[in-house]
Amino acid sequence: MSEFQELVKSFSKTREYVRDFFVYGFKTRNEFKTKSPRTYDNERRRLESWLAPFVRKDYGSKGSNISLAIDSNLLDTNPLFQVWKTKSFTDNDIMLHFLILDLLWDGQILTAEEITDNLLTRYETLFDIQTVRRKCNAYAKEGIIHKKKQGKTVVFSLDNRLILWLKSHEDALDALAFYQMAGCFGIVGNLLTDQLGFFNETFRVKHSFFVHTLEEEILLELLDAMNHKKSVNLTIKSSKREFTNTISCVPLQIFTSARSGRRFLCAYLEKKRRFSCFRLDTIKNVTSLEISQVYEELLEKLDKNRRHLWGVSFEGPERRHLDRLTMTLQVQEPMEHYIIDRLEHEGRGGTVTRIAENTYRYETEVFDCNEMLPWVRTFTGRILSLECTAKSVEQRFYQDLQNMYQMYEIE
C-alpha cells in the first residue's frame, strides 16, 4: 500500500474533486460514485491539508461531508490558488532549483559543465552533468534562466532586472495585488506576489468567481491555440451525464458571465457550420490541430453575430433566426429612474422608450429569448406585459409567475 502524498503529479485529477467540494458542499463519500472510496479519502485528505482554514465538516444521517466555506467578502486572495502550488518534485529538482539560481544570481555566465563544477566546489553537492544540463535547459524553456551560444559553447545566465524592478516599485506591487483578485489568470499574479513577498491588504473583489481558477490550465491551452489561429480537439465531459466526447472546432473567444459564474469557449464547428459555446469546466483536454485558413473571417462573422446574442446560445427554442422580446414596465418617475438606468446598462443593446407617463418599453431582438428570462424576472413587481415572438418563452414566463404565486400563496 503506497504512502499518502500531500503533493500531486497531475492537476487534472484533483480539479474535479476541488470543484465538487467547493461548488457542491453536500456530497457525502457515497455520492462520489465515479471513484473508489480510497481515492476519495486521499483526495479529501489532500484538500483538508491544502485548504485547512476553509474546510467545513458536517455530519448528516447519510454520512459526513466536507465543503469549502469561502466568503469572498472577507478574503484578500483566492484560497483555491493553493491548489496550483501542489506539484510534486524530486529531491534533485528542489536542490538544483536553489543552487543554480543562487549561483547565477550575481550575473555569472556559465556552461553546464562550469555549473556542475561550481555546485561541487561552492556547495559540496555532486550532480552528474546530464542532470544539470537537463535542468538548465528546462529552466531556459520556462524563461527562468537564459540560454545562448557563445561560439560553439552553450552558456546559461540569469536576468534579474525585471524582478528587482517590480520589487522596488510599490505601485507595481499594488497592481499585482489587485489583478490577482480580479481578471483572468489571477493565479499568475498571485505567484508573482508570492515571489515578491507582497500580500494584498487593500483590494476586495465582488462578483469574481474563485472556482474559475481551476480552469486556467485549459484556458492557457485554448489561448495558445487562439493566438496561433489553430483548430483544436476538445475532450468534453458533460456536466449532466457521465460520458465524454471529442469535438473538433476553431476556438474564437472566451465568453464570461459576471452573474452566473460560468465561462465558455465560443468556437466554430466546421462540420455543422455554426458557432457554439462550451463551458470551460466541462472541457477536460485540448489538443491543437492545424492552422485555420479562415480564422479572421470567422472572427468577423462572430463579431456580427454577437450583437444578437443575449448569452451563449446561437439558436432559440423555436429554431427561428431571431426572436423579438418586448417588455413593458411601470416606473414611477422620477424616483425610480434607476430602473431606466438598469434597462440601459444591463439591456445589452435593447431599445428603451418612454411610451406614457410612468411607462417604459424595452425591446430587443436576439437568437434565444429563453436566455433572457432570468434577467426579465429581476423586474418582477413592475412588468406590465411581456411579449415574445417565441411563444414558448412568453408561456414559460407567465407559467413560472403563476407557480410562484401559488408557492408563496399570493392572493
Partner: protein, 328 residues
C-alpha cells in the same frame, strides 16, 4: 509555459524563505516556518528531508542550520509571468497604478514577451455598460489618493454626489477598495466615525467622488475589518429550497458560490441552502433569487420573505389591473 509547475510549489516557497533568512535557524524555527506557510501535512514530508540532509541546502553546526546560499535571491520572472504582465499592460485599469513613464519602463523590459491574452479575446456578455472612467485623470488621482490613504490609515475628506444628486462631504478612513466585475466599478469600503470612538462601515462609489483631500489625522489602531463585515450579517440567514429542475441546483450553487453558504440535501430533488448576508447585499440577493423563478423557494428569514412576497403581490396586482382594463 507551464502553470502547474514545481517551481511555484508551496514547498519551494517555504524553503526559499528559510534559505534567504540571514539568521541561523534551529529545527524548531524551521518547524514553525513550515507550520505557518506550508500545508497542513507539509511538516511530515519536509522535516525528515532537511534533518537527514537529502535536501542538502543547509550547513549543520550542532543544532544550528545555516543556509548554504550566498544571496537572498528572488526567483526570476518566468516566461508565463512575463506574458501575464505584458497582457496587463493593455488593461485600462493599469493606468490607475502606474504612471506613463513606469508603463514605458515595464513595456521595455517586456519587449520580447508575447501577451498571454488580448483584451478582445474575452467577452463579458453580462457586464454593465456604465463602467468607471479608468482613463480619466481626475478619477485616477482620486484612486491614488485613496490607495495611499488606505495604506496609512489616513482620514480623508470626501466630497461626494449621492445617488439622489445631493453633494455631501464627510471624513472617512479608507478600509478597502472593492472592485465589482459585474458593475465594472470600484467602490470604497470606508470607516466613518459615528459617536465616541465607534466606527461604521460605509460603501461609496469612486465615480461619484468629486474631490478627495487627505488630512493629517491617522487612525491610531487598526480595525478588525472582517469582524465588522461578519458582524453586519443578519443572524438569521436567507433559507431557501432549491428544486432541482432545469439544472437549477448546479446553476444556483455556482451563482451563489461567493456567498458564505451551507447546503444540505433534503430529498432526492430538493436541497436546502443557507446564505449569510447583510443589508448592503439584500436588494442584489433578492433580484438574484427572483431570477431563478420557481426553481428556488424562499423559506426565511421573515424580512427577506416579506420583500419577495411584496414584489410578487405588486406583480399580481398590476397584471390583474391590466386584465380588467383590457379584457381579451
Amino acid at each position: 509555459m507551464e502553470l502547474f509547475s514545481e517551481t511555484y510549489s508551496c514547498y519551494y516557497q517555504v524553503l526559499h524563505h528559510l534559505l534567504c533568512c540571514q539568521n541561523p535557524l534551529t529545527i524548531e524555527d524551521i518547524r514553525r516556518e513550515i507550520s505557518q506557510e506550508g500545508f497542513g501535512e507539509s511538516l511530515i514530508s519536509m522535516i525528515p528531508k532537511l534533518e537527514n540532509g537529502t535536501w542538502n541546502l543547509f550547513e549543520r553546526d550542532g543544532i544550528i542550520y545555516r543556509s548554504k546560499l550566498n544571496s537572498s535571491f528572488s526567483m526570476p520572472v518566468t516566461s508565463l509571468e512575463q506574458s501575464y504582465l505584458k497582457a496587463l499592460l493593455s488593461d485600462p485599469r493599469m493606468g490607475l497604478f502606474l504612471d506613463p513613464k513606469q508603463l514605458d519602463n515595464l513595456n521595455d523590459m517586456l519587449a520580447s514577451a508575447v501577451p498571454l491574452w488580448k483584451q478582445e479575446q474575452f467577452y463579458y456578455y453580462d457586464q454593465f455598460t456604465d463602467g468607471d472612467p479608468y482613463t480619466d485623470e481626475k478619477y485616477r488621482s482620486i484612486f491614488r489618493t485613496l490607495l495611499a490613504a488606505q495604506k496609512q490609515r489616513r482620514y480623508v475628506d470626501i466630497d461626494y454626489t449621492s445617488p439622489r444628486g445631493t453633494r455631501v462631504h464627510h471624513y472617512y478612513v479608507p478600509a478597502r477598495l472593492e472592485y465589482s466585475v459585474k458593475n465594472d466599478k470600484f467602490r470604497l469600503l470606508a470607516l466613518k466615525q459615528c459617536g465616541h470612538s465607534r466606527m461604521r462601515l460605509e460603501t461609496l462609489n469612486l465615480s461619484r467622488m468629486q474631490r478627495v483631500i487627505p488630512t493629517d489625522k491617522i487612525l491610531s489602531s487598526p480595525v478588525d475589518f472582517n469582524h465588522m463585515i461578519q458582524h453586519s450579517y443578519y443572524t438569521d440567514p436567507l433559507r431557501l429550497h432549491i428544486i432541482n429542475k432545469r439544472n437549477a441546483l448546479e446553476r444556483a450553487m455556482l451563482h451563489f458560490a461567493n456567498y458564505n453558504k451551507n447546503t444540505t440535501k433534503i430529498d432526492e430533488n430538493t436541497y436546502e441552502c443557507l446564505i449569510y448576508y447583510n443589508q448592503n447585499m439584500e436588494t442584489e440577493l433578492l433580484i438574484e433569487v427572483l431570477s431563478f423563478g420557481p426553481m428556488l423557494k424562499v423559506l426565511g428569514n421573515e424580512r427577506f420573505l416579506y420583500s419577495l412576497k411584496a414584489r410578487l403581490q405588486r406583480q399580481k396586482e398590476i397584471t390583474s389591473e391590466l386584465c380588467l382594463q383590457n379584457p381579451k
